[in-house]
Amino acid sequence: MGLNKEQIAQRIAKELQNGFYVNLGIGIPTLVANYIPDGVNVVLQSENGLLGMGPFPFEGEEDADLINAGKQTITTLPGSAFFDSAMSFGMIRAGKVDLTVLGAMEVADNGDIANWKIPGKMVKGMGGAMDLVAAAKNIIVAMQHTNPKGESKLLSKCTLPLTGIKCVKKVVTDLGVFDIIADGFRCLEHAPGVTLDEIKAKTAGRLVIDDDVKEMVF
């Protein structure tokens, strides 16, 4: 048994460092905000124009003018700041955001990512994903290791239209944690109860397994 979505988010939260400005994408990445370690202060950036995103509002206190990039009602925190969309992507483009966490349909062993379009099906658009992956200093992908058909999402080459090239630094899946290095996906940790053989079998891209792969600790 691999990790559930909450555990993937919990593992990624351990990557947060004090003082980071962080952009969390929709889905599993949003859950990371629930597991920020004690003593680590980060500022969440929402690309629709907010730094210092707070928790959801209490019932009855929702404000239609205050939403996050997922269109959810949110709140501000002491020290929050609003700005327009050009400045928002300006700070992203200029590399001011330390970490971006986003979901993906496919990741290649050279760091390419595909997460915005499935040809022939409804195309919803890339939103801010292409801007984020092109510019962020550090990109972690949170996703399931395989698709619903059981096929690997860690590939040697993406088959879907790309969102960005050679940009992903780390992938956290239900099976393990992988850095992307010149030789491919370097397995750093495996999920409790998941064998390295299972990871090998379910990884289509180049995989590097060192002798000292650790079991994930929560």
Binding site: E62, D65, I67, K71, D84, A86, G125, A134
Partner: protein, 232 residues
């Protein structure tokens, strides 16, 4: 200097079929509700709309899609709209999807009088097809052109007769740079205040960019994803 018009119908009087419009807002947040309703009443069609999103089926730009007034949408994200999907798949609607930051910056370039900018987003993807690529300091960038639009329609929180605007919270989003980018800019505001009431320090968009302004009414301000937490 008095840029006040009576209402949305008067504000959009100059908009004709076939024009290119910019519409502010992110999702349904900060959209010009009154002007969209007036455009639906007027029935202009064959429009090209530049807007981050395309509304939902029965609200926002979705209302114009229902009436088949839109020929082409230029957006970054268009989910959450079944009629949009139907028109796209049937070929009735043309859609150009571009990265959100590129959309914002192409508006900004227009408002700052810059013909084009070099941007990172989309390098190596299908977004880059047909675009000039130039390398700066070892990195490739795409040449992206400033938008050209006939009218920009924005929604602000407060404004005055000189066209000065203040936006609220994340309802600011694309509104300020679209206000700067329109050949003619229409601003609808929740509250039209006397000139002098807005402190010069707090003005987000100076009135020079705004041509027509009016106090909107009956704002629905629909919430797409109402998310809350329980007390304790």
């Amino acid at each position: 200097m008095n840029k006040v018009v009576a209402n949305a119908d008067e504000a959009i009087k100059g908009i004709e079929s076939g024009m290119t419009l910019m519409l502010g807002g992110f999702g349904l947040c900060g959209i010009p509700e009154n002007c969209i309703a007036a455009l639906v009443r007027k029935g202009v069609n064959n429009l090209t709309c530049i807007s981050n999103n395309a509304g939902v089926d029965d609200f926002g730009i979705g209302l114009m899609l229902q009436q088949k007034q839109v020929k082409k949408m230029i957006s970054s994200y268009v989910g959450e709209n079944a009629e949009f999907e139907r028109q796209l798949l049937s070929g009735e609607l043309e859609v150009e999807l571009i990265p959100q930051g590129t959309l914002a910056t192409r508006c900004m370039a227009s408002g700052y009088g810059m013909p084009a900018v070099y941007l990172l987003a989309g390098v190596g993807t299908e977004v880059a097809e047909g675009k000039e690529v130039r390398n700066f300091n070892g990195k490739d960038y795409l040449l992206e052109y400033a938008f050209d639009s006939d009218f920009a329609i924005v929604k602000a929180w407060k404004g005055d007769a000189q066209g000065n605007l203040v936006f609220k919270d994340t309802a600011r989003n694309f509104n300020p740079m679209m206000a700067m980018a329109g050949k003619i800019t229409i601003a609808e505001v929740e509250e039209l205040v006397p000139v002098g009431e807005l402190h010069p320090n707090e003005i987000h968009t100076p009135g020079i960019y705004v041509h027509h302004i009016f106090q909107g009414k009956d704002y629905e301000k629909r919430i797409e994803q109402r998310t809350t937490r329980k007390k304790n």
